[in-house]
Subunit: 414 residues, 2 copies
Amino acid sequence: MTSVFIEQARGAREASLGLATATRAVKDKALHSMADSLMAHVQQILEANGRDVQRSREAGVASALIDRLSLDPSRVEGMAQGLRDLSGLPDPVGEVLHGWNLENGVHINKVRVPIGVVGIIYEARPNVTADAAGICLKSGNAALLRGSSSALDSNRAVIAALQHGLEAVGLDPRIVNLVEGGHDITDEMMKARGLVDVLIPRGGASLIDAVVRGSQVPVIETGAGNCHLFVDASADQDMAVDIIINAKTQRPSVCNALETLVIDASIARDFLPRMVDTFTELGVGVQGDSRAQALDARIGETPYDGWDEEFLSLDIRVAIVDDLDEAIGFIRSHSSGHSETIITNDVGNQNRFAAEVDAACVLVNASSRFVDGGMFGFGAEIGIATQKLHARGPMALPEMTTTKYVITGNGQIR
Amino acid sequence: MTSVFIEQARGAREASLGLATATRAVKDKALHSMADSLMAHVQQILEANGRDVQRSREAGVASALIDRLSLDPSRVEGMAQGLRDLSGLPDPVGEVLHGWNLENGVHINKVRVPIGVVGIIYEARPNVTADAAGICLKSGNAALLRGSSSALDSNRAVIAALQHGLEAVGLDPRIVNLVEGGHDITDEMMKARGLVDVLIPRGGASLIDAVVRGSQVPVIETGAGNCHLFVDASADQDMAVDIIINAKTQRPSVCNALETLVIDASIARDFLPRMVDTFTELGVGVQGDSRAQALDARIGETPYDGWDEEFLSLDIRVAIVDDLDEAIGFIRSHSSGHSETIITNDVGNQNRFAAEVDAACVLVNASSRFVDGGMFGFGAEIGIATQKLHARGPMALPEMTTTKYVITGNGQIR
């Protein structure tokens, strides 16, 4: 017996074959058509979203989560605009990364091609549905979108609108699919080797961990950001304060926000109380290790196992270290491999930090809030990859492709 | 209690940290020292190998496998030469793939860096031990080498010599490690997330499948090559014969050898018997589908489930199809995604085949035997990757690295 999911994945595979060779013009037309269809179905989408929001309210879900779930006309317009913006980006498919001739005249081209069928497992933000569908389409991939049950009605309405937009330009609606069902369906996705080419979990650390451990399909990890900033003894301390405040407070709920401050002991006696003054003014809660607590009585204790977690709130931890070596060792022990920062005026320390800290992004004298596909100039991103294979850092359209060697000759043999 | 393997993996991780920032000069000196040490220990290596070979003979192992296991002075010299050759290749580490400025003056460099700790699980060829150790070292990675029990004595002697070579130039011998023990150790490797960054199985389809299904560590699949060649109606038939014979017979035991011939029905009546004449002369056994059998009585029947397997011997299967569409569909059903070939003089068919066949390498009018790191001019390869993420096709030194974004500013905030 073939499950509903397997049928759906096979349909996505079939649709992906046609999409893989679609021209940029066809894909861009589809993106505009999908955007138009979202706008034509605003009423249905908002009504469906209203049902999701009401269910969550009745279930007593926290208001921050309800905010992430809620749509309004301007958020739907934002989803449509996101699709239109994708049409302005270059098509990654067909790019020749490298081309050369062998001595015998055989020519080799290394060419970007779509991955095929991309599965995305994400939490309750219905705008991710349109966003992920658009990025997959532009990069030539069919999408199996596994949203959360709390956004089910919204996601159904959004996907129906997107599929309508695809059909309006003569494309296969199975390019974009909503995967519905219980946890057993997530298990099926994770076992669907050969049907699903890659799984991308987007959400909290526990979701990512469950997919990474359970999946037989290759996984790209995104999003967990336990980001550190080290204030070196040589740092410009005014610059350090500005960057710390920006990285911590500009948008604390995101993965590139600062979670842990590491300070060289030789400057901590002056710098830390000054920093805590500013944190206190801005309502940032401060925890720390025993050395930090000894320097400022306003600092609470970080639990033993607290150093590996993201606050994603207006809270920060402080650790005091004796030197750069200890700072690098501390960051190695606790980093999630997302974005790590040093504030320094010492060239040697800058170079050692950049070389020895193992993370997708290493920043010198700049805010980790710049680690973002939009900020990098990539135009769109599916997430920030924190693992080492295939893609690392902001994942944009090129990272949603694989490559193929096309080898042409006129009869050469070995 | 910490297992022997976990201790070993932690040691490799520590060693990898120093190696990651080693200069090319240091790494090249180490490669020469490892090569010298192999030559200084030829006697010990050959004695150890003799014990492995004797055990396998007593166990009644097939002679082809014993040949793969056996070393002699010239094979050890070949291993040493392989290490010396690696020193002539550019260092992939530090290469800037892309560098740009943001509007606010922040500069971003995307830089190649080592992956960290690479686990390689392979079958009974002791020369892979030196080969893999050298490729990992040159790309800045520590290696956990899991050879097969039948080559245990040989691998111990080779690794001891390599470690001696590392120590002779002041490097940490834990850069190269032999992982010993039963199947439970392979399981430990596959669960060692965070300690091992990637697992690369090298060997038969069942080994690769077991690692892919069982591993929580990211895996790069290599090696399984069920390669097809389609003779289009427009093909130059003399060229087709030459390429088919080369791809099938030049070295039938390797992954880029031809396994299945697909022929357009409109030319099969003349072309197939001619091809079978040549196969018969060369001692190539021929199987096929019912249409092929109907055209030539010398063709045996391919078992129902035989079309997905590699012969790796002087045997070939033949399928007859009505047109390019059916050929592409047939290849999609049975390909292992390694190397697929078309022989054609039709530009449209060439382009469709190259675009629509989903494989690491697609060849037009050339032998699939060219799909090889050495032939491609890469100088060394760890294997041919047949999956779509991170690396696809011949995996050379650059594919043994990941990237890091290094972001430098002078106080920029968002």
